[in-house]
């Protein structure tokens, strides 16, 4: 194991070393969770909402957990291979109440994500069930895998 010396021992070097260490730790976490497929998933973009994107044949499925968001306050846009999700979570209106705990957050959000393929915007379907949004995006005709028949004489 190599020992790195800090000749003048300025604090800036120490903090860079700590940053390096932190980055290595994060990479390690990501590696471990990639292998085990368990635990808290690494947040890639850091923009609300967290998404799960799946590919199933000629469809791309995007899922997001959006508890307490009225489907009417949700906006889904598709441009080519970009999906834009925007909306707002409104605070609950309660009169004359005192809070013991307030952990649930509210506010607005806007997130763009690049899909692996172009999709046909007219055939996109979205469903909100129990606070989980599922968007099914069929791939565009031109990018769908085509099976080529071989003619034999």
């Amino acid at each position: 194991m190599a020992i790195i010396r800090y000749p003048n021992w300025p604090w800036s070097d120490v903090s860079t070393a700590l940053e390096d260490f932190e980055r290595a730790r994060r990479q390690m976490d990501r590696l471990v969770s990639a292998f085990t497929g368990q635990g808290s998933a690494p947040v890639v973009s850091g923009v609300f909402p967290a998404l799960v994107v799946k590919e199933n044949g000629d469809k791309i499925i995007v899922e997001a957990e959006l508890p307490g968001i009225n489907p009417q306050d949700l906006d889904i846009n598709v441009h080519g291979n970009t999906l834009i999700l925007s909306g707002e979570r409104k605070p609950d209106k309660v009169e004359d109440a005192s809070y013991h705990r307030r952990e649930r957050k509210w506010g607005s959000f806007r997130k763009a994500i690049t899909l692996p393929d172009e999709v046909s915007p007219d055939a996109v379907q979205a469903e909100c069930k129990n606070g989980v949004l599922t968007i099914v995006l069929p791939k565009a005709e031109q990018v769908k895998p085509k099976k080529i028949a071989i003619k034999s004489e």
Partner: protein, 132 residues
């Protein structure tokens, strides 16, 4: 109203001695607890939990909320995974006397709402100060 950007809520896993038999992580749901004159309301974010999978238990002054997410590993290859799906579990100790018969639970858009009406005996009373 001030425009505020929503942040990704950090899902905290339950740290307890007893392990779940299901191979799924168990998370602590974010809750709001608010008190009005007549009742105590509890709101918990539990996305993906259908009403029939919510289990509410009041034993003594210990309130337990449990929500299980139906396993739905649909076909397909995962390209991006920014969050993990798991069950929800949280326990509270209630300080007020609750009228157990009148507890109501509803779930809407993945938010569990529990209304716990206070029993008559503990409702605050206004005390008149008489001047002699």
């Amino acid at each position: 109203m001030i425009e505020k950007d929503l942040q990704i809520p950090e899902k905290k896993e339950v740290q307890s001695g007893a392990e779940s038999t299901r191979n799924a992580p168990v998370f602590i749901p974010a809750v709001d607890i608010l008190e009005t004159e007549h009742e105590l309301s509890l709101l918990a974010d539990m996305p993906g939990v259908p009403i029939e999978n919510v289990d509410i238990d009041l034993e003594g002054d210990q309130l337990t909320i449990r929500g299980t997410v139906p396993r739905q590993d649909g076909p397909g290859r995962v390209l991006l995974k920014e969050y993990a799906v798991g069950d929800y579990y949280r326990q509270f100790t209630l300080s007020n006397d609750i009228d157990r018969e009148k507890i109501q639970a509803t779930i809407k858009d993945g938010v569990l709402k529990l209304v716990l009406p206070k029993s008559e005996a503990v409702k605050p009373r206004r005390i008149e100060v008489k001047a002699s």
